[in-house]
Symmetry: C2
Subunit: 323 residues, 2 copies
Amino acid sequence: MLIVDCLQYCNWSEAIFRDMREGGVTAVQATICYHESFRETAANIASWSRRFERFPHLIFHGLAGADVRRAETQGRTAIFFGAQNPSCIEDDIGLIAILHRLGLRFMQLSYNNQSLLATGCHESEDSGLTRMGREVVREMNRVGLAIDMSHSSERSILEAIEHSARPIAITHANPRSWHASPRNKSDDVLKALARSGGMLGFSLYPHHLRDGSNCTLKDFCAMIARTADLMGIGHLGLGSDLCQDQPDAVVHWMRNGRWTRTEASGGGFPLQPAWFASNRDHRNIAEGLKTTGFADAEIAKIMGGNWLKFFDQSFGGSEAVRQ
Amino acid sequence: MLIVDCLQYCNWSEAIFRDMREGGVTAVQATICYHESFRETAANIASWSRRFERFPHLIFHGLAGADVRRAETQGRTAIFFGAQNPSCIEDDIGLIAILHRLGLRFMQLSYNNQSLLATGCHESEDSGLTRMGREVVREMNRVGLAIDMSHSSERSILEAIEHSARPIAITHANPRSWHASPRNKSDDVLKALARSGGMLGFSLYPHHLRDGSNCTLKDFCAMIARTADLMGIGHLGLGSDLCQDQPDAVVHWMRNGRWTRTEASGGGFPLQPAWFASNRDHRNIAEGLKTTGFADAEIAKIMGGNWLKFFDQSFGGSEAVRQ
């Protein structure tokens, strides 16, 4: 079975890449930008190039849906690059095509704060897409850089869905009706996302889970079943938000970046649920879905088939670019 | 008479510095950042260093109110650095103290668009200060970097006034009641600005003037008289927005920066009114104010005295920084 995990930010190592192989993970979206500038993002890409050179038997750089199929055939994991913050394009719309050429395939229009493009889920006010945000959506549509609104707030997400000519993604979040985190999404958003052909990736980050680290696999899979009723089976996938082997300093960087002089609060990384602690555990979810009553074909879609379809549709340039 | 012009963005040259001397201009706030990154702003500062080295008999780098008095005594013009956009601090609050140390004395929290800090006057929605915006206001207060809200929108300005522990400035704008440009300011904003001890610099950019390039000196001075009734004489100064000798490509850069792929629209630089075409013409305004009925002491305040007082209060660090 093809497994696609559409969001991870691990402390990348050969050990983790071996876990991916043991766990049968076919493709992963790996975050290459939290708060980084263009220059810093380029450095992260260079680091990935060295990993691809060192571990070619385990991983390679994924650029299109075909690379997911190739990974499956070759027994390797395709790594797709994504940005959780548009800081990597700075204030320059021209960097979108540049980063796409360097292999970027997803970009969030905002992380937790207001960006130049859209509002993040931890701001008190949400003004939707900005002037530059609307221009950037058009340009991302043009070059084939998928829009991710995982950390954005309600109105900004709805406007991105509305304004984008292509389906968008919320790569890692859960329904707010299940667990009322500011990072989880309202039914209005989830329905609009499904109507527009977009994708939701279910998160396994404990702050997004009911009962946090103690969330049960059964409850998680029951939530997926209810979300399938709401959105339709064709719009669901996984985006685990797994931060395997990361030290707590990393979560402080994720929260505080460089925007505040205040000490980071909120503690370190929470403990993962026992049934999803590493890249060896994705098959537990497939089993849980089976127990919950999903058919094999449905499970295959949720575990990776739906993301593969989204990748096939999202990463090529629009006709204007191809010509 | 001491003349302070608190906003210019000229195509700097020896000829313009000589005009300043002929026109008796004691101090100017010169824009060193429109859309520039930190690195690019540093390059602009280096260009100014070369100008200070080449023309020490005409200009020098102003850092405090005392430098305005020194300029008056020595017959030179003090150049104060300002940023029209927080792009120079990128996403890094630590760059505020760094830029202050390099001589930056004013920074706008937004230019025309949404920034990471506040909303610009050409956005359709105004969400006020962002999370980072509130942190940045506190840090600017701490180090003595004056907040300028000339290009920001209503709510963002009111929140900056409210949130700032120090008086803020609108260095270049006019009352909207006189000329309904999106860049001009409402009476509510002007009254709140005056109540908080802030400063308004009257703009001479034709798009901010009633009748544009044909605005009369008499009408301009009558507007100043009405604004004095509204705000009190102690809160008024000049911020001409003079772009002497700039080619039209520069106004396209000011408008479009790097945030859009659309061609710049709105034409080139408009023609200045005949009575304010260059740095030799500031005394025409003093004469116009006299004709309008202002007393000499009032004229001295508007032409530079009020800005000097604001500079004296604004550019030193807070006690916490001094200790």
